[in-house]
């Protein structure tokens, strides 16, 4: 019997893809396996990729979950990310709607400036932003994070949502104005419902940005209880003589769960948003 060339090719592709996945997820499996090993075993020689079956323990997770400060860090991260997502959705969609639909003084300058700030690395602004946070008395508070994150994600969000607004037919706006609607009616009842997929896709991205942000949060927050998760995770270093890798990775695994939930449930929007920007460009 002859197997077609086509079939052999398909099989080869599957093998290649699966081999690739093995390499890609290896570090993550190692993280999970380390988080399940007894903490003391981490300095033992030889290091093992998988723990022995009878060795598997939830003690690292028990420790993390028993510490009030880590629960607090988790809540901080959730608050910061959720408020950032909602605030930037409102602010960016309104900006995008106005830029796409109306001519107003400074419109072009605003749009060019938004694009320019996408080029400049956010971290370069850390010195004047820190000075600003000190002036506003928001050091050591989640309010020292949220407005900065919102400002940080506005350019990308506005840019992406503007593309979605432009896809809404102008006739719909005009029909609403004819029926006696005003700018607010068009924004809330015509544009917003139709650009929801765009808002959803940038929101997932914004959630991830706020959830994992490190340099700024590490600069503004130095109180253990006020920290967000990335700072709490990196905070395991330098505290003790030995790094408790079991704790590090248990907290890491726990902090990945919300991201996975958000990502897998909204996967469709995420891909849509990413591709809308790239194919046009």
């Amino acid at each position: 019997m002859r197997i077609s060339r086509q079939k052999v090719m398909q099989l080869l592709i599957y093998v290649l893809l699966i081999a690739g996945i093995a390499v890609v997820v290896l570090p993550m499996i190692y993280m999970i396996s380390t988080s399940l090993k007894p903490n003391g075993a981490l300095y033992e020689y030889p290091p093992r990729f998988f723990p022995k079956l009878k060795e598997i323990t939830g003690e690292n997770y028990r420790y993390i979950l028993s510490q009030k400060k880590f629960i607090g860090n988790f809540v901080n991260s959730l608050l910061v990310s959720t408020i950032t997502v909602f605030a930037s959705a409102i602010v960016s969609s309104a900006l995008a709607f106005c830029i796409a639909r109306f001519r107003f003084p400074g419109r072009n300058f605003l749009f060019v400036f938004i694009i320019l700030t996408m080029i400049i690395p956010g971290t370069t602004m850390i010195v004047p932003q820190y000075e600003l946070a000190v002036k506003l008395h928001t050091i050591n508070s989640i309010w020292g994070l949220i407005p900065f994150y919102v400002a940080w994600v506005i350019p990308y969000s506005t840019f992406m949502i503007k593309g979605f607004v432009e896809n809404v037919p102008r006739e719909l706006d005009e029909a609403t104005y004819m029926d006696g609607g005003n700018v607010f009616t068009v924004y809330f009842h015509v544009a917003l419902p139709l650009i929801q997929p765009g808002i959803a896709s940038v929101s997932i991205f914004n959630f991830l940005t706020a959830w994992e942000e490190f340099p700024w949060a590490n600069t503004v927050i130095n109180d253990d209880l006020k920290r967000t998760l990335p700072i709490a995770i990196s905070g395991f270093f330098g505290q003790h003589q030995f790094t408790q890798w079991g704790y590090v990775f248990a907290l890491s695994v726990l902090s990945l769960i919300p991201i996975l939930v958000v990502f897998i449930s909204c996967q469709r929007f995420f891909i849509q948003g990413l591709t809308a920007g790239s194919v046009k460009g």
Partner: protein
């Protein structure tokens, strides 16, 4: 359309929150940064700063540590950007060619992208530790070396680990972006190329690549910006050590500002980086246009 007074007010109300947040937390800091870069501004001169013109820029550009950091960032970008793009495109082409489990593959390859930089950096640091898993594998399992390699104790060892992390984390994004671009290449072009007797590689060069040119440019610009944005990985993997050998521009900027208190220096450094990135973006656009 002529706008009446009510409409103008309503547009103003919609614009206001965005303009306020963006104005206060982005526009003002950028202006302030530019201002600071011309002054002698450090811990010792908090209340009273002297205008020193371009002195800060001169100091940055003649600083050996900055040059090392700049070279590291450049090497990081030159290596990780093409590597991510090539591997991402390869995975995209493979995923595009299979008939089943497309979404499963897409999600699996995307996992490193949604893993935070902090976590990914710590995993890599742990694996590449001198007593870590990789050295154990190299010395005791496949016996390619008899001594543990001190990956993180040398300039290029530390940079190599950071670059490997950058590539590992970037493949998924490139895959998704290129996967979308591949859908836009008309199938008829492939069919007529086949009729002309083109092989797989020729089809790739003459049909696929020209078809996804726009996306290649988009990815190139975005990833170059991303390369200059590298901070968390080198900060957590090597923290610039040994000496300041594995510093990148942003970690060096941060160090000078918050450990040395040289705010004017850091401000000038920030503008140099922004300037370099703007030029790179323009050059990349021009190059791609000329290829047309």
């Amino acid at each position: 359309m002529k706008l009446n007074r009510e409409s103008k007010i309503q547009i103003g109300v919609l614009l206001l929150p965005g303009l306020l947040v963006f104005g206060i937390f982005t526009f003002y800091p950028i202006v302030r940064l530019f201002w600071m870069s011309f002054f002698k501004w450090d811990f010792g001169s908090f209340l009273n700063q002297d205008f020193i013109g371009l002195e800060n820029y001169r100091t940055v550009l003649s600083d050996r540590n900055f040059m090392t950091a700049f070279a590291n960032t450049l090497v990081y970008t030159i290596i990780t950007v093409p590597a991510q793009m090539i591997l991402g495109l390869l995975v995209a082409i493979l995923v595009n060619a299979v008939s089943r489990f497309k979404i499963g593959f897409r999600v699996a390859y995307y996992l490193p992208v949604i893993t935070s930089w902090v976590i990914a950096s710590l995993i890599f640091r742990y694996v590449f530790n001198t007593e870590g898993l990789l050295n154990y594998f190299l010395t005791n399992v496949i016996h390619v070396t008899s001594q543990n390699i001190h990956w993180l104790d040398s300039r290029w060892g530390g940079m190599a680990v950071a670059m490997l992390l950058g590539i590992w984390k970037g493949i998924g994004w490139n895959m998704v972006v290129f996967l979308a671009a591949l859908q836009t290449v008309p199938l008829e072009l492939y069919e007529s190329a086949s009729l002309d007797g083109a092989g797989g590689w020729q089809k790739f060069v003459h049909v696929t690549l020209p078809g996804i040119k726009g996306t290649v440019l988009f990815a190139l610009v975005m990833l170059t910006i991303g390369g200059f944005n590298v901070y968390t990985s080198t900060k957590l993997i090597t923290d610039g050590k040994p000496g300041h050998d594995t510093e990148v521009v942003l970690t060096w900027m941060y160090y000078k500002a918050f450990s040395n208190g040289k705010f004017g220096y850091s401000a000038a450094l920030s503008f140099i980086i922004a300037f370099v990135l703007a030029i790179l973006a323009v050059v990349q656009f021009k190059l791609m246009q000329n290829k047309e």
